[in-house]
Every structure is written in structure tokens, then in C-alpha cells.
Amino acid sequence: MDAVKTKKIGLVVLVVGLALVIPMFVTKPYYLHVITMCLLWAYLASSWNLFCGFAGQLSLGHGVFAATGAYVAVMLFNDYNLSPWIGMFIGAGAAVLLSILIGYPTFKLRGAYYALATVAIGSGAVVLIENTQTLGPFNMGGAEGLIIKLMGNAPAYFQFMTKQPYYYIALIMLIIIVIFAFWLKNSRLGYYLSALKEDPEAAAALGINVRNAKLVAAAYSAFFTAIGGVFYAMLIRYLEPHAIAGPLMSNEMVFLAVVGGTGTVLGPVLGGITLHAISEVIQFYFGHLAQGLHLFIYGLIVVFMIMFKPQGIIEILQKYYNRFLGISDRGEEDNDVKSTSGS
């Protein structure tokens, strides 16, 4: 198995190495911005996947956590000059609290009812944010949104004049979440989650505290999503209630993860990068032909992926990956990338 291990390490080094040198070749700020957004979406889809993919819950309201992180960090920065580097962890902490608050009553709901509750929470949050001008001493901006105070080139305040630093930060965030997801999947909690995904009653009968397992996983997911929200805010430098808390954000996370392959470590990463890149390319080259064309094609891709490749892009790549490693399709290494549980 040593050859396999070498190949694996080689592949990881190759991918990370390529990712590290991309900014040296892509110098146009617009292109680098698009690539950074691809990484961010891969990161956000992975954050969603931590709970929803691994535990088989369909949350359509994850934008709430991104918004919590972003708004807390930005308000602390705008009004109290607190560096977003610190503020993002306070925002993430707030998102964790919120996830527990939401999780307690909602986790007893099953399947579709849980999804509906998250839709209502997401839509309610947008309305609430839109109608809150000030929260205590903080300015929330209401429906006009919140502009992030400009500091010039201030690395200590998460503001850079060029796009490169944002790219590298997004890359580091993505690497961290992949490592974390890999750890989570192979941890005790990860096994709990895949058990309760298959059958919650059976999992409970085996002595798993289903609600606690869900709460902890949801808290991790909310934490990472909130950090992603802060990054989004600092990159765009403008917070718009619909864009950060609304269905655009929430549904995008879900679709990217589903197209890539939910419940797997690398699926959401692949989905986030591929699908977002496709959508951007279509918008860039064909956007002038018809309004909404890129989203139309984007929707079609999601529809056909769900219909014909429900396990996601990762299912297609798995074969080539195995061939590359020189092991059979049903090899023991299967666990590495793809969940053996299937559904």
C-alpha cells in the first residue's frame, strides 16, 4: 500500500501547490476575485455539509448563520473599531448560540418539516434585518444594507488593497475546513451522524443521543458558516440583507454541496468550485445574450445532477481517482473520499 500512499500525498501536494501559485499567473483582479469566490463557495458548501450532509438534514436557512457572523463582526468593526480578525470569532460564537437556540425546537422535526422550519427562519431573519436600523448602540443599516468602513491597506483590520491576500485567506479557510471535515467524518461524532442519517430511531435505540449529536454538529456548521459570512463581508465590503441571509445564500450552499456530493469530505469543495465557476463563465461570456441565462443553465445542471448523478460529481471522479491509485473500484480506500453509506 505504500505506492498508494505516495500517490495520495503526491496528489495533495500537487493540488495545494497549484492552488498556491495561481495568483502568480492570474493577475487580473477580476479573475482572481472570481476564483476567490469559487473558493469561498466551496468553503460555504463544506460548512453546510458538516451538519446537513453528514447528518442528512436539509437546512435551507444557513444564510442566517452567515448573516449573524457577518453582521456581528462588521458592527463591532464599524462602531467600535474592533478588528474583524477578532470580531469574526465573536460573530461565529453568536452563530453557534443561535444554532443551539434554533436547534432545540427544530431537531425534533422530521425531513420536510425541518426544511420548512428553516425556510421560515431564513425568510423571517431577512425581514427582521431589513427593518432594524439600529440595534442598541450599533448601526445595522436596515434594508439599505451596511457598508464596511474603509481603512485603506490595513491587514490588521482584514482589509487589503489587492486581491491576492483575500485569495490566500480563502484558500487557507478551505484547507482548514477540509481537514476539519475529514477529522469529523472519522470521529465518534461522525459515526453517530452517519448512523442517525440512515435511521434516527435505530441510532437512538443504540444509545446515541440523537439531539445532542445534531446540536454539536450544527454548532460546528454554524461556526464555520459564520466565519465564511465575515470573509464574504470583508471581500465585498457591503452587506445586503437579502444577499447574505436570504434564500440566495442559503440555497446556493445546498445546491453546490448536492452537485458535488453531500455527506462526503471533498464533494462540496468540488461542487462549489465547479458549479460556481461554470455559472460565472456563462455569465461572463453569454450574460449579454439573455437576462437570467446563467442561472437557467445553473438550475438545469442541478436538476440533471439530481436526476442522473445523485451522489454528485465525486461519484464520477471516484472511478478515475481509484484508477489513478491503482486500486479496484470497490477498494478499501473507498472510505477516504466517498461515504460508503451511499444515500
Binding site: G56, L58, L60, P105, T106, L109, R110, G111, A112, Y113, A115, L116, A117, V119, A120, I121, S123, G124, V127, L128, E130, N131, P247, N251, V254, F255, V258, A290, Q291, G292, L293, L295, F296, Y298, G299, L300, V302, V303, I306, M307, P310, S343
Partner: protein, 297 residues
């Protein structure tokens, strides 16, 4: 006395808007009751019905209410075909999964496709079928009503009632309900379950077409109009009980009343938040809703 009349017209307006919510929710509840699918494309299909009705009215100029006879069958076909070609394959693949979440996602993706297709074809403008009905009012014993809303109420009540009777007493209605109760047993009794599913989806979509036409004379149409109504329809359906026909109409009227009465005392947005809060409370306390079966959820 004046005050009393005014509040009476607020109530009637609330009921009529609520009846439209109910009509929209009727299709949703039917599809859920029979197929156990939450249709996230419901709003987009409503938008499509409104768009088609608008353009049919624009070209022919006939009374929008008469368009029901064209648009409803057309939307039935759209729904039937959608079920056959998109939903059925995914549903079959997920046969053994207790909660077919993939289907839910599929309908959500279909909604994006439909919304952007109509943006491409019809453009993103806000349009409305301004007819003689649009600004007309009716006066009943001192209570002034918008004619379009009153007709909407009338149509909603008649269609919901008729639909209820159809489900209860017709042969097809019995087939539909039997598939909802237990599709395997229904299949053993010689019912063609896949076909019945497609018919259920078609009827649900046709009911949307009726709702679309009642909205046409007084509501602006644009590619994202469905979102507003879909969220309301979800709330209505959970309030009334997923799968319950009377629940849909009653739930719709309750939500319509909360909105119109609430609007008298607070901002419209605060009312929306209250509606969401009520929705969540019902989910947490009694997820089966007012009329839903205790066993369903």
C-alpha cells in the same frame, strides 16, 4: 358606525386575500398529501401561470376570468409532464428512502430554471392585466370592496368546495386519496400509482392556474412573484395541516385576516414577522396543524 364599516371591509379584504392563499396552498397540500413531496417549484409554477395568463390576455384581450378554461388545462399538462419527466425518476430512485429529500431539492432547482426561463422569455418587467375589474368596487350595505378581490374570494370558495367534493366522491378522487393513504396497498388494488401521482401533480398545478387568474387583475406579475406566495402557501399548509383540503382554505383565511387586521395597527413587515413566528410555533407545538392527521408528520 363608520368605524364599524371600515373594520368590516378590512376583515372582508383579509378573507378574500386569504382565500387566494388558500387556493394556492390547495395544490401544495394535495401534492404533499398524495405524493409526500413538498413542492418548492410551487411558487414558480404560480408565476408561470400568471405570466401565461397575462400574455394570453394581452394578445386576445378577453376577460381574464374566461382564460381559466385555457390556462388551467394547459397548466395541468405542464404539471403532468413535469411529474413524469423530472420527479418520477428521482422518486423511483429514492423509493426506499423514507423522506425523499432529493425530490424536494429537485423541485427547488426546477423553480430556478422556471424563474430564469421566464426572465429570459418574458423579461423582468412588472406587468399587470389592467381591465375594467381592476379598479371596480362593489358596495354591500355600506361595505366597500374591491371587485377583483371579491371575485377572487368567490372563485376560491367555489373551486375549493368543488375540489373537496371531487376528492371525496368521485372515482378519481378516491384513487388519489388511496394513493395518499398507502401507495403499496393502492397498487395492490389495481390502481396505477405512477399515473395517479402525475395526475395529482397536474391537478395541483391546474389549481394554481385558477389562483393565478384570480390574482391577475390586481397583482403585478414578474419572474420572482412566486416566492412571496410560496412562503405564504407553506405557512398556510402547515397551519391547516399538510394534506388537508379544508385546512388549506381555513389556514389561508386565517393568515389573510392576520395580515389585513395586523396592517391596521402595525407596519406590514412586523405583521410578516408575526406570521412567521406563528408558523414556527405551530411547527413546534402541533406540527400536524389544525386538520392534519396526527400520524402524518
Amino acid at each position: 358606525m363608520m368605524y364599524k364599516m371600515e373594520s368590516l371591509s378590512v376583515i372582508v379584504n383579509g378573507i378574500s386575500m386569504g382565500a387566494i392563499y388558500g387556493l394556492i396552498a390547495l395544490g401544495l397540500t394535495l401534492i404533499f398529501g398524495i405524493m409526500k413531496i413538498i413542492n418548492f417549484a410551487h411558487g414558480a409554477l404560480l408565476m408561470l401561470s400568471m405570466m401565461l395568463s397575462y400574455w394570453a390576455w394581452k394578445f386576445t384581450g378577453i376577460n381574464p376570468y374566461l382564460l381559466i378554461v385555457i390556462i388551467a388545462p394547459l397548466m395541468f399538462v405542464v404539471g403532468y409532464v413535469t411529474e413524469r419527466f423530472f420527479i418520477k425518476p428521482v422518486l423511483d430512485a429514492q423509493k426506499d428512502v423514507r423522506e425523499p429529500i432529493a425530490v424536494l431539492l429537485l423541485t427547488a432547482a426546477l423553480a430556478i430554471v422556471l424563474e430564469n426561463l421566464s426572465l429570459m422569455v418574458f423579461g423582468g418587467d412588472y406587468v399587470m392585466a389592467k381591465t375594467t375589474v381592476t379598479d371596480a368596487t362593489l358596495v354591500f350595505g355600506g361595505v366597500t370592496l374591491s371587485a377583483a378581490r371579491f371575485y377572487a374570494l368567490l372563485i376560491a370558495v367555489v373551486v375549493s368546495g368543488g375540489f373537496y367534493l371531487f376528492l371525496q366522491y368521485s372515482e378519481l378522487g378516491r384513487k388519489l386519496r388511496s394513493c395518499g393513504q398507502d401507495r403499496n396497498t393502492a397498487s395492490l388494488m389495481g390502481i396505477n400509482v405512477p399515473n395517479t401521482y402525475a395526475i395529482a401533480f397536474g391537478i395541483g398545478t391546474a389549481l394554481l392556474a385558477v389562483a393565478a387568474i384570480t390574482l391577475l387583475p390586481f397583482y403585478y406579475v414578474h419572474p420572482t412573484v412566486g416566492g412571496v406566495f410560496m412562503t405564504k402557501a407553506f405557512i398556510v399548509v402547515v397551519l391547516g395541516g399538510l394534506g388537508s383540503v379544508p385546512g388549506a382554505l381555513l389556514g389561508g383565511i386565517i393568515i389573510g385576516l392576520i395580515e389585513s387586521i395586523g396592517a391596521q395597527y402595525m407596519t406590514a413587515t412586523l405583521t410578516t414577522v408575526i406570521v412567521y413566528a406563528i408558523f414556527l410555533l405551530i411547527l413546534f407545538i402541533k406540527p400536524s396543524g389544525l386538520f392534519g392527521s396526527r400520524l402524518e408528520w
